[in-house]
Symmetry: C2
Subunit: 653 residues, 2 copies
């Protein structure tokens, strides 16, 4: 018999947990609430189903909120047994939850809750209820996120001035239970680095506790914890790792020195940032940013090939209408959200998920459209907008070329989504085509052979950022594409990309245009450099010219830098997509294997595709390929060879 | 020095308390949650101010939520003292409150919170903060509504089978503290009538308690409470009246027998329903309905002349966008909300209040417009719409005339509001004029000399309801108006109005068209009849042909009828506006006194106008008038006499 599941209105679980998450950031003893509008769950929701009880029976409508059940013309309280005679009924459970979000659980012989129920928030059409696999018993509480926990033992406990320094060996995230001696006052200083834990004044996370405080402290990032105070040695610390159990489906090894450690570092970092949603970093901000998430979605498709965190993150970023400011207040980030959804849909074929967010997506697009320039269709800066693109030198005068390129891609994403849902696409494709024409007219500089950032400032400034996206999104091809590669991507005279965020896009563009070796060099020097500095997770940024605690400073604060930042996990994507060369090419499970060993002389990669995976083993010059599922082709740069599932092929590259 | 006040984003106090209120209804041991979408407060809000500290000082940003203070480039925790040096600062308090709504209180020599602060919910422009007079100390909690309380002593305690029946003498509303003997189980049965309290099976409110339950029971309506159980006599009951202290500014007395008691009954009923918002009734539904509230606004302008409850109620009804269904799901009720706001603005001149809700009002109007018939501009029934009008026989086929009349008035209301705010009005006046033309073309029946409900059904049915609103809103004048009066309002062949809700509109129309005596007759028979049946507050409905407990049944339930319903307080409005004849004629305090004694031979009325009042004393045939404020004119049906404030005038009617 089918299993009963806790059910709720689609998106409410994500909206609720995103709300909690958005207000957990702390800095220097202060709460640091999210600086944009955060959506709340609905307070009242209705759940309905027609069911047939084959025999007389009893069920209880379990909820952590309150409400009532309408059945056979009568009202019944929730959380108390309800008797029914055999027969067919229309049941409606009308629930409210002021503290969390309305959720329902019924598990009886006569009736069970699951996705076959319809639900509505009283002002929208009923849709199938949503659920999560972790919640299937009356004792479960969907308001508590189902993390897993593991006890952590410190690798070392070292006496320091006025206390004890615990070292948990590597970057961790989780709650700490502190037993404070009676009448004592102790201070906990969390450090991602030893220097941070030893610097109470400047550490990002610190707090002072007495025996009166709750012993279980909120989950936080740390490698080191300093316990300070006269009785610090008597205070007991029990730390636990809090994590989301999610399986790696990709692996990569090679004879390239250090590459195994780099992969492990990236995977570990990515797991630590894979929680309710894809976070930017686990110490700071612990918020959900659309640009960061966009990169995480790409990485996750290779490392996990599991849609759950991606879809939760899309729901969290999307929030609820009315949309009055851009996602994270950033113009490019609204566009990235639409593009993220389309790339997710294209890669996984999960059209039913798209359907559950489509109304909100259209509302967001309508909001975006309300802010375009009426004549050109350009995304321009309006009150409250942040034109982010990237930190670094960009010419943001007037309409910014980068914004138009991502908007052009967002129009195409909308067209793709609409097509997947069987809705008209012309409104989107026409916008895309008109915008493309305008971009080429206004931003293409024939003399410089590349796109300029701004045509209004007169500076005609060419940056890598803008041109990288022209390449990644395929805005140009043929001669113009070659010109962009030559005059922007590979032009040593242009300012270098300095942020790891944008560096990933640059590496993607290099790989896409055949410069895999350049990406490999960078992986070994940048990530390898961090490893040599003792990193146990990938830092938010790394500058090889710095030394010691200089590495930890950022945003004007000595330990402002996050030492565990999701966007640092890019090598997983680069190695799987370009070196092993595995790309999903359609939602029906089609994929293509086109390895580019670059400077590696051997490697072995397992990369998930559809419901299976493909194993690529390279030992120069031979490449062995075996896919567990059909739909693949091998491409050696000239010819395509279909891959039969389960068969092993050897190609000479 | 100015007083510090708790501040919040405008509307959040009302949204929060309306949310709580909407989920307090109970029926037969069941929670009975609101059956429409209810808005929640924002989770995060920012408060900002530039201030100058004349000398060094200390302040604390007090909140029941959490958050941080940004000041001079630093972050500070809330609820802890912050030291500032003398100087000028920009302060920003960024707060979140997952349980209630973000609110801030600062009271120090260097800084105080009040309406001079700006606030925004991170996705809208900053606006002046809102406050309520009850919250001005750090110990206050805006999440607790500031009701007043008074101990109640039962007028009688009578032994009944298996318990005790307490009679509190008249209709009450409030919490009851119950001390249940150890190991005992008792049942409370609340009764607005004795019969209800003695009928545990059918009473609307009942609950069974043990010593483990919280002794303080939620505030509920009752006159009687039966305590049942073996140890009922040992259970202790302490009841309190929970009420909103608000002063009566109107009074009316007369030699008409019983009229004093009717006025008192109506005033008492109205006070019991005047709480966070204007309720429909205090036993059931205890929700905020736009149609009911519309009548309460009219009554309140005379009885209280205090905008506070009206404005709270408008905010509660308006909720927040996105608007996806009509107010209370009822098409007419959305229109009534716009009309209510305009009539409130017109009568009080409170344009700053209008400004605070204008964006939402425009969103609601945009939602309404999205559902009109594209060709005719008619309000038609769409998915999820309830075309209510009134209970009783109406022809609701196709576009319903009544809906078009209130929509026409709503267009005019929008024009009035826009004009008050200095915004363009043409879009609204053009809609109104086009709609009026269509109404006259499609719904005016020249043969019947009145408006028909529907032109699509072919029945050409004339109802009082539709034609009453054509008169009240002035859709027609001259010959057509006289025809409507003759052929609808005074036509004995049309079905009678049977609901007290619509009866008030009918009485208003009768008075407006000079038939004050008919209204007076009805007041004495209907309200007088209820008094003779022992009513201590006005019932939801009254049918003089019923006897005994028949009076208490409604909606198929023996005690389904509310015995304390706000719409029953209409005589206050009728007596002040038509018999005393006092009408505010402009927001600048202009008013007109045109008494219509009807069949009363003497009366004395005090009626508030602007910031004062006007006293009208009638002893046939002389009428003495004295106004405490300027702006008045006296009208005897032929000529107007300006009234000087403070001077006494005598006119012969």
């Amino acid at each position: 018999m089918k299993k009963a599941k806790w059910i709720w209105y689609p998106g409410e679980f994500e909206i609720y947990h995103h709300m909690l998450l958005s207000f957990r950031r702390q800095e220097k003893g202060c709460d640091y609430p999210c600086v944009w509008h955060v959506s709340r769950p609905e307070v009242n929701v209705r759940f309905r189903k027609r069911f047939t009880a084959a025999r007389d029976g009893v069920f209880t409508a379990v909820t952590r909120g309150r409400g009532m059940v309408r059945l056979g013309g009568r009202l019944y309280p929730v959380n108390e047994p309800i008797s029914v005679k055999a027969g067919t009924y229309d049941i409606s459970a009308e629930l409210f939850d002021i503290n969390a979000f309305p959720a329902l659980f019924i598990d009886s012989d006569v009736l069970k809750t699951d996705e076959s129920w319809l639900t509505d928030p009283f002002d929208a059409a009923p849709v199938p209820a949503a659920c999560e696999p972790a919640f299937y018993s009356a004792a479960d509480d969907p308001a508590v996120f189902p993390f897993a926990y593991r006890e952590l033992s410190p690798a070392a406990a070292e006496p320091i001035k006025n206390g004890v320094l615990y070292d948990y060996g590597q970057e961790q995230f989780g709650p700490v239970r502190v037993t404070v001696p009676a009448n004592a006052e102790i201070t906990l200083v969390y450090g991602e680095s030893r220097a941070e834990a030893l610097d109470p004044e400047n550490a990002v996370i610190r707090e002072t506790l007495t025996a009166a405080d709750a012993p279980e402290r909120p989950a936080r990032a740390f490698r080191y914890i300093a316990v300070l105070g006269e009785q610090a040695a008597q205070a007991r610390l029990e730390a636990r790792l809090e994590y989301l159990p999610i399986e790696d489906k990709a692996s990569f090894s090679s004879d390239e020195p250090g590459l195994g450690d780099i992969w492990a570092l990236c995977a570990r970092t990515f797991h630590l940032n894979t929680r309710e949603f894809f976070l930017d970093g686990i110490k700071r901000d612990r918020w959900v940013w659309s640009g960061d998430a966009y990169q995480s979605f790409m990485i996750a498709r290779y490392l996990y090939n599991d849609p759950s965190v991606t879809e939760r993150t899309i729901r969290a970023l999307l929030g609820k209408p009315p949309y009055r400011l851009h996602v994270n207040t950033i113009v490019d980030y609204s566009a990235f959200l639409l593009i993220s959804l389309w790339e997710h849909c294209e890669a996984t074929g999960r059209v039913p998920f798209v359907r559950t967010v489509w109304e909100n997506i259209k509302d967001l697009y309508a909001f975006m459209s309300s802010r375009w320039d009426a004549h050109t269709g350009y995304a321009v800066q309006r009150e409250g907008d942040w034109i982010f693109v990237d930190c670094g030198v960009l010419d943001k005068d007037g309409p910014v070329c980068f914004e138009q390129i991502v908007l052009w891609k967002a129009h195409l994403a909308m067209a793709g989504l609409a097509a997947a849902l069987g809705e008209p696409t012309r409104i989107y494709t026409e916008c895309a085509e008109a915008l493309r024409r305008n971009i080429l007219r206004d931003f293409w500089d024939a003399e410089k052979g590349a796109f300029i950032d701004s045509f209004t400032s007169g500076r005609r400034f060419v940056t890598r950022q803008t041109n990288i996206f022209a390449l990644l999104y395929g805005l140009v091809d043929g001669e113009k594409k070659q010109s962009v590669i030559r005059n922007a991507l590979l032009n040593p005279e242009l300012p270098a990309i300095t942020t790891p965020y944008f560096k990933l896009y640059e590496l993607l563009a290099l790989c896409e245009t055949g410069h895999v070796t350049a990406a490999q060099d960078y992986i070994s020097s940048y990530w390898g450099g961090m490893l040599r500095e003792g990193a146990t997770s990938v830092w938010e940024a790394y500058d090889p010219t710095q030394t010691g605690a200089e590495h930890y400073a950022m945003y004007g604060s000595p330990y402002g830098k996050s030492l565990c930042h999701a966007w640092g996990s890019g090598p997983i994507l680069l190695l799987c997509r370009y070196v092993a060369g595995v790309k999903q090419t359609g939602p029906d499970g089609a994929f293509r294997v086109a390895p580019a060993p670059g400077r590696y002389t051997s490697f072995e990669a397992t990369v998930p595709v559809g419901k299976g995976d493909v194993c690529v083993r390279y030992q120069a010059p031979a490449c062995t390929v075996q896919a567990s599922v059909p739909g693949g082709v091998f491409f050696d740069g000239k010819t395509e060879t279909p891959l039969t599932a389960g068969r092993t092929y050897t190609f000479i590259l």
